[in-house]
């Protein structure tokens, strides 16, 4: 072969290899970006039922005495210790969006704990009983309270099998701009809907958990981490007998 041809081959080889290597280096980044952008819905597009957001809580991983998820939720949504409000309400009147529940096995005496929040049911009793339709389920499965039309009758609080909802018992001043809350209305965990809509792709509690006990994701996406995880081992719903098809599933109850 002539030297020129060899050089040509060399140049071709080098350029192709470099191109491939460069593509290989950039591609994951591009893919990540496109994945990230796929999670952020454009601001002017309505939500659809293409996704169904949910959580997988592994109680086995939930560390005894830890309440990081609670503190993160408080900080993100400005309630409890994350806000200077609710000073006049007593301990039973203060709102609580998420709580850690300690379970003691009556037979063995052993204890474990898990976080509990609004279960974002597919058939929410709170939505059924709300007289004005303020308690509603969004197309993507998140159950919310429209505080513009909530009259504060508290029937949803009565109907919720998980005691997920709280009523605001006094005037508030220190709300987070993304999370409106007000006296005389009912509220509960919003699955960080403002973060989801913004494209953060995660809830505050799941982000904060150091033990990976909470996993957020799209239950309808077979490739999502949560869907894959749920196929690995059995999961249950709290009060599965009520047939509410909750969006929050548990392991280790």
């Amino acid at each position: 072969m002539s030297q020129q041809k060899i050089n040509q081959y060399r140049r071709d080889f080098l350029s192709k290899t470099t191109a491939t290597a460069a593509t290989g280096a950039i591609a994951p980044g591009v893919m990540l970006m496109s994945v990230g952008q796929a999670q952020a819905r454009p601001a002017d597009k309505a939500v659809t039922d293409k996704n169904r957001w949910g959580l997988l809580v592994d109680s086995n991983k939930c560390a005894d005495g830890c309440s990081d998820c609670v503190k993160a939720c408080e900080s993100e949504n400005a309630w409890g210790s994350g806000s200077s409000d609710e000073q006049k309400s007593d301990a039973q009147q203060k709102a609580q969006w998420i709580r850690t529940v300690t379970l003691k096995n009556k037979l063995t005496g052993s204890e474990h704990q898990l976080p509990m929040m609004c279960q974002h049911c597919e058939e929410p009793p709170c939505v059924d009983v709300c007289p004005t339709g303020a308690s509603f389920k969004r197309a993507d499965g998140i159950v919310l309270v429209d505080k513009h039309i909530c009259i504060g009758c508290r029937y949803c609080m009565m109907a919720c099998p998980y005691k997920a909802r709280s009523f605001i018992h006094e005037n508030l001043h220190d709300q987070a701009p993304e999370v409106p809350r007000g006296k005389g209305t009912v509220e509960s965990c919003t699955l960080c809907v403002h973060k989801i809509d913004r494209g953060d792709g995660n809830t505050a509690c799941a982000e904060a958990c150091k033990h990976q006990a909470i996993l957020f994701g799209d239950l309808k996406d077979p490739n999502s981490a949560i869907a894959i995880e749920m196929k690995k081992h059995a999961t249950t719903q709290i009060r599965a007998d009520l047939n509410l098809n909750t969006g929050v599933r548990y392991r280790g109850i």
């Binding site: 009259i151 005691k163 005389g184």
Partner: protein, 416 residues
Amino acid sequence: MKPVVHYSAIEGRSIAYWGLLGTFGLFLLLGLGAVWVMEHNGHYVTGMNNHVIWGLPHVFAVFMIIAASGILNVASIASVFGKKMYKPLSRLSALMAIAFLAGGLMVLMLDLGRPDRLVIAATYLNPKSVFAWNILLYPGFFGAVAVYIWFMMEKRMNQYSHQIGLFAFVWRLLLTTGTGSIFGFVVARNGYDAAVLAPMFIIMSFGFGLAIYILSLMATCRWTGRELGDNVIRQLKNLLGVFIAAMFYFVFVLHLTSLYGTENHGFENFILAEGGLFTQIFWIGWVVIGLVLPIGIVYHPSMSKSRTWIGIASAMVIVGGLASMYVIIIGGQVFPMTIFPGYEVSSSFGDGAIASYTPSIWELGLGIGGITLALAMTTFAIKILPFIPDSLSDELMDPHHAAKTAEADKSETNAV
């Protein structure tokens, strides 16, 4: 010639009358003041919290709403079941039904977190919500009973009294069932998930309503100098006895059937034995004062003939009724939900623990405000329109029975 019953508006010019109305007005104002405190500051001033979300106002409100439909019973017995003796009693019965429903609704609506949004509640209705059905059932009741009163008062419409009476009767059954369903549909809570609650509420409405009616009728006739025959009282008293017996049966059945299921043992034990205040209110308030003592009075050979004792029996039924509402509504909330069967549960949000509830003066003020609204409406209305018959003497009400009794008395005297 058959004696005709005349009706007239009461005079209502005495100092006692205006004093009574004034007292009602005062308590109503205090009630509205309590509402202002709750609405302006928020519900932190009350004893209600995130675990006991419905408190004393709801005890009063549900009591009044149930009683309202039961008060209408007296009119229904005349128009629907054809008992002539009850006919003159009908107008007052229909009036008080409206008044007590209004009072109950006032309490409910003013306890809302955002009562300024009532217009939304009237315009956006969720078809699956019992509350939304009630928003249609309650005005329907007002309308039906108002028409009923009109038909009773206007001579040419008297012939249709039966039809409208039947309509109102069916409507109030729907309404009371709806009120019972508010609790019966709440599958999440041990104290409420019982189908027998709906018919029990209906029977309770009969009892509470009649007790309130008897007291009001006796007071009205006494204070306006109208005759009220012994026989009339006797028949009403006997009916009350039947209703109390029926309520007793339902309470018995409710707890007996609940006790059968092991899953209910926790709640039943709480109410019947180890619930502290709730157990006391159940046994002493609901059972003894509300059922056992009044039925004893009603069937006692000499006490049952005394109007004072009958009045006391009626008052006891009312007290027992409020106690029953307290046990059902508040007891049902105070007992923790079984979210994790088989585990002992604890958390920072009261899971697994008996919740605490201490009623505040504001809630009591609102509840009493509702009662006084009902009484004030009645007191005022009987002065404006002819609700009360001029006389409810035995001869007028039930000539045959009066004649028979007179015959029996005469033959007794002759025999002696």
